[in-house]
């Protein structure tokens, strides 16, 4: 069983702010983390390895500092990792990103057949949830999104059965392998790194692939390959509502509650 997991390095969005004077992103000093949803995807891949044996390969597209998420993956139990890094990849929107990742996965598949590709349902910076389905479409394999549970993998029969988390319930779906899964955070709890794996990660030399390492059409990468462009960014508009504080929450809470109930009564 060979699983490939795509992990994105993202800014910790709790820290990102916009400078109201210049309308630009203040990214200085904002820590980078592995996209939490992708760690759940990795955990699911490690579960598969625990159950069926085999190998987990982690890949990430990003600048050189994204090495850290590959090392993180190794520390959690991934066997191998590749960083896709080239200045030509910079500025890629989701279409260009899915192109680059799918070409890398094709190359990995050439060397060692890939059975399952796992990605998190979305990245916490872009929040688009588009790259997963995009990769699957380009590779001509089924995307199964919002996966809550992998029920069974039949490697010989080339089938997989999963449960997807939809708005009104859980859908049980069977698909042929190879397949791409996007996972929700409710799927699992990300494990702690074991000491041996932590040591392995520290020693691990992250393989780096640039634009010449695998078949790529540069016109489909970076800004050139991105049909969408950000025209402008701005701070969210300030709300005009001024709050009506109902007295007196500290000295007479029962009274305040009664006043509030009266104001809400018509609306409820």
């Amino acid at each position: 069983m060979h699983a490939v997991v795509c992990i994105k390095q993202v800014p910790d969005t709790t820290e990102v702010k916009i400078d109201p004077k210049t309308n630009t992103l203040m990214r200085k000093g904002v820590p980078s983390i592995a996209n939490p949803y992708d760690l759940h995807a990795l955990e699911e891949a490690l579960h598969l390895k625990d159950r069926y044996g085999g190998k987990v390969t982690a890949i990430s597209m990003g600048p050189t500092q994204a090495r850290e998420v590959i090392k993180k993956a190794i520390s959690l139990g991934a066997d191998d990792g590749i960083l896709l890094c080239d200045v030509v990849f910079a500025g890629s929107d989701t279409l260009a990103t899915s192109y680059i990742l799918s070409q890398a996965i094709r190359e990995i598949n050439e060397r060692e057949r890939v059975d399952v590709i796992l990605v998190g349902k979305q990245a916490i910076d872009g929040d688009t949830a588009q790259v997963g389905p995009g990769i699957a479409t380009r590779l001509g394999i089924p995307p199964l999104t919002y996966v809550l549970r992998i029920d069974d993998v039949d490697l010989k029969g080339r089938k997989i059965r999963v449960e997807r988390m939809l708005e009104t319930g859980r859908e049980v779906v069977e698909a042929s392998l190879p397949v791409l899964l996007t996972t929700v955070k409710e799927a699992n709890e990300v494990r702690y790194a074991s000491l041996p794996n932590l040591v392995k990660a520290i020693r691990h030399e992250v393989k780096v692939w640039n634009k010449n390492s695998f078949p790529l059409d540069p016109s489909q990468c970076g800004l050139k390959g991105s049909p969408t462009q950000v025209k402008k960014i701005f701070a969210p508009p300030a709300r005009e509502i001024k709050v009506e504080i109902i007295p007196d929450g500290e000295k007479a809470p029962e009274q305040a509650a009664a006043l509030l109930a009266e104001k809400l009564d018509l609306k409820l």
Binding site: T13, L95, L264, K267
Partner: protein, 339 residues
């Protein structure tokens, strides 16, 4: 070689999401904004409806403003599967060349839109909160929050068509309904067999009555870190049951295991738009606000007068929630008895 130019692409399309023959509200919400965009472009508004035995649903699209509906009907489309629906829409788009295509950002829509946009090699902007036409260029201006809502971004898709965007449910308003409106139905057949679709639905386990439906709730009573411990959610459960609400949560209680994730409201949880949202012991971090600031009325109960939640609330009580909430429950219970 026959080259297609941008001016060959016309009209606004809206995906009509149907599940077991029931059309999701977001389809009509998008029909509303779609009508505005089409009018500005002096173009037509069309619905796109896929399914099995669904042609009869098309008339509602006319009542909501569509000029025409493209229908693809067949047993292979009965339950949503990415490959079948993607292929159908891609075939329609290649043949009829829409300029703009809107899809509701439901689990189905988010699954479908990424696949369609990739197949068509076009641009897709997810979770737009604003859509308008640039008066100078005629391009679709797609505005959405990013970085957890800390910034707003306006995105263009200048050179590829259709310009695709998804919008979450309850972001756009429901348009009026005019049952006298009619329109044209264009039927097409999907060029795929069952063998081509490599996935199969085995079962569907309905989970009604759980907080899985929080996105549709009319009243939400949400708790945050200020509750202190898991058992204090019982205070909120009581209030919610008296006023007919659903219990919600900010992220910290979910992370701490006080309540399960489906109750979570916010950037990594659910986006909600209830009539009334109670934020109890919730400070009002931006990641939470992003999920609930569309609520009609926001009520904040917090002991910290400087909590950011008071900047977005309509009503607020500064005080001890352990006294205020039971008092609220008691008051509402008495009011219910009287009426």
């Amino acid at each position: 070689m026959n080259s297609v130019s941008l001016s060959d692409y016309k009209d606004v399309w809206v995906f009509i999401e149907q599940i077991d023959g029931k059309i999701s509200d977001v389809s009509w919400e998008l029909m509303g904004i779609g009508r505005q965009l089409a009018d500005e472009r002096k173009a037509k508004l069309s619905g796109v409806l896929l399914g099995s035995q669904v042609a009869g649903l098309a008339s509602e699209a006319f009542y909501r403003g569509a000029d025409s509906v493209y229908v693809m009907d067949g047993p292979i489309l009965k339950d949503y599967r990415t490959r079948a629906y993607t292929q159908g829409i891609v075939e329609l788009a290649r043949k009829y060349k829409p300029e703009t295509f809107l899809i509701g950002a439901t689990t189905l829509g988010r699954d479908l839109s990424g696949a369609v946009a990739t197949e068509l090699r076009t641009g897709l902007t997810a979770d737009c909160t604003g859509l308008s036409i640039d008066p100078e260029t005629g391009l679709l201006q797609q505005t959405r929050p990013a970085f957890g809502g800390h910034i707003m971004a306006t995105i263009y898709c200048a050179e590829k068509r259709p310009q695709m965007a998804t919008v979450r449910p309850r972001v756009m308003r429901m348009p009026p309904r005019d049952p006298s409106r009619t329109g044209e139905i264009v039927s097409e057949k999907l060029g795929l067999t069952e063998e081509d679709v490599k996935t199969k639905r085995i079962d569907f386990i309905e989970e009604v009555g759980k907080a899985l439906h929080i996105a549709d709730a009319r009243v939400i009573v949400s708790g945050g870190r200020g509750l202190g411990e898991a058992k204090n959610f019982s205070l909120l459960k009581e209030l919610a049951s008296v006023i007919g609400g659903t219990v919600g949560s900010s992220r910290p209680p979910v992370d701490a295991g006080w309540i399960s994730p489906e109750h979570q409201v916010g950037q990594t949880g659910n986006t909600v738009r209830p009539k009334v949202y109670f934020a109890i012991g919730i400070s009002g971090a931006i990641q939470h606000l992003v999920g609930m600031q569309g609520s009609d009325i926001i009520v904040a109960i917090n002991k910290d007068t400087n909590a950011p939640i008071f900047k977005v609330a309509h009503y607020g009580i500064v005080g001890d929630l352990f006294r205020v909430v039971p008092a609220l429950t008691k008051t509402f219970r008495e009011r219910m008895k009287k009426s």
